[in-house]
């Protein structure tokens, strides 16, 4: 009977653990390019949505991208899925009239079949994708207005200007404990583009770190909308990836995929790993960190007392 109870309790714990892992990090749309409400989108824009790392696209009937316009009076525009975003031979981009999933970038990209009509409004419905488990995230809809022509110039960007760092700790829903992170606030310099900065993306790289030497390839650590009014952008790194001398650089990218200069300019800081003490628990369950040390002391004390009394 007791064995059955123990087995049942264990099963409940295991199911609860599995359920927690399954619910954590649900897939979601992080950003959209252009953003909802954008007013000066070039006619030759490639539209995209940036999904969270746990997202997976399988191309099913629930993962269809819909383009509607030109409004007023528009209709759904036929676009077809591609297995990936690899450009065909002789082309520098995937063909118009298609959308594709770039898993390594976390981007679902849509290239309209023809140039967007100047001055008109369009709506894109980005689908919710599945995550590592069966749960599906929510889709999002974006509406934007087209500007007066194509984007032909690359954006200009002065590079990053400043970095400040700190250490943060927050409860992580997947590991059910607190996760420590280095926090870097990066201030971007001036940026400009022939169609404004509202649809620009800021792509940040770690150019120096514990695992990145002076000649190692910089690693992309963020892809996000260019900050409004050059507000600082926060980047988080694990303690292993952000300890010691670290440097960052960034570039701006427009809706056509053109990249700016300015990525040669780096900002650097030297971080220090904080002295957090986790206690005596081997697997660090939360209750053990507060009860293990006193319990150990008590056991040792009792053992010492018993040894003194036993030879009587």
């Amino acid at each position: 009977m007791q064995i059955a109870r123990a087995a049942t309790s264990l099963a409940v714990v295991l199911v609860a653990h599995a359920a927690r892992a399954a619910d954590c990090a649900p897939p979601e749309i992080l950003d959209m390019f252009p953003p909802d409400g954008a007013t000066n989108v070039p006619t030759n824009a490639i539209l995209s949505a940036h999904y969270s790392p746990s997202s997976q696209w399988v191309g099913g009937e629930h993962e269809v991208v819909t383009l509607h316009g030109p409004d007023p009076g528009g209709e759904d525009i036929p676009v077809d899925p591609l297995p990936d975003c690899t450009p065909p031979e002789g082309m520098d981009r995937f063909p118009p009239g298609n959308y594709c999933w770039s898993g390594s970038e976390g981007l679902l990209k849509l290239r309209p079949p023809e140039d967007l009509r100047a001055g008109s409004a369009y709506t894109v419905e980005w689908p919710g994708l599945r995550g590592l488990t069966a749960s599906r995230g929510a889709g999002r809809t974006v509406t934007f207005t087209v500007g007066d022509g194509p984007d032909v110039e690359s954006p200009k960007f002065a590079g990053l200007e400043n970095v400040e760092w700190d250490v943060g700790r927050s409860k992580d829903e997947c590991i059910d404990s607190e996760a420590d992170r280095f926090l870097f606030d990066l201030t971007p310099g001036e940026a400009s583009d022939d169609f404004g900065t509202e649809s620009l993306a800021l792509v940040v790289y770690e150019t120096r770190g514990p695992n990145i030497g002076p000649s190692s390839p910089p690693e992309q650590v963020a892809f996000l909308p260019f900050p409004v009014k050059r507000d600082p952008t926060r980047i988080e790194l694990s303690l292993d990836d952000g300890k010691g001398p670290v440097c960052f650089a960034a570039r701006a990218q427009d809706l056509i995929g053109n990249s700016s200069t300015g990525a040669d300019k780096q900002v650097c800081a030297t971080t220090k790993k904080p002295p957090f003490f986790y206690g005596c628990a081997m697997t660090a369950p939360r209750f053990a960190t507060t009860t293990a040390a006193p319990a150990l002391l008590l056991l040792l004390s009792l053992a010492a007392l018993r040894r003194h009394r036993s030879p009587s």
């Binding site: 760092w165 404990s177 002076p214 440097c247 957090f276 003490f277 697997t283």
Partner: protein, 253 residues
Amino acid sequence: MPSCYRFNVARFGKRALAHRAISVAALVGAALAACSRSGLEDLGASPIGPGASRNESVDASAMTSAPLTDAKAPVPDASVDAPMPPPTATGTSAPPPPTQPTSTATMPPNPPRCVPADETCNGVDDDCNGEVDDGIAAIPCPGGGERFCVAGRFSACPTRCETCIPGSERICFLSYCTYWAAQTCAADGRSFGVCQERHVPPECSGVATKHKDSPELEQCCLDNGYCCRDEYDLDHDGNRSEMLGKCDEVSCK
């Protein structure tokens, strides 16, 4: 005075009693030291708590101007290797000092002009147009995305996450009890959680019983289709923190 004290003092003497007390204290101290986690090696520096600000912002000098010598001559990446100026009291950096020659007596009166050359990804304004590494085409990546010229060299191909797919799990190994454990990837994909004990799957229970925490157990993990932390470096590449096995749904690559 408690009777147990008078009894023990009479029986063992004060010196022996003191020795026993010291031994117990030493055991307790050793246990506490063994339980400490990394970070205590830094003890001695001022500990900071969450939210405390350590503003040490430094601007690395950028290679924005053409070199004084031949434009094709390789120039060290001074933006990273040069000594960084110390932080100011306000926590932000002062502008980097202008590059000065070490000996003013040898400075030529008319520095040679930049000699234009084809722009390459090297952190230098090769074509003397005032822009560093401009117009350099990106290199497509096989798995999607592109490599761009950043900080004088081409970036790595983008990956969907930094360390692991959020919520995924890999097998790790412990030195006690079942020897079989698992780590879950954090929600931001930047690290794994702690190694938490699990029941050994039936196909590896015999190996765990016989060999405990061992290369054999890790091999059994791989042979049975799990994603396993390579703690015993079974692929002999010197990396004991990587993952081996069926890791498509765990690894970022």
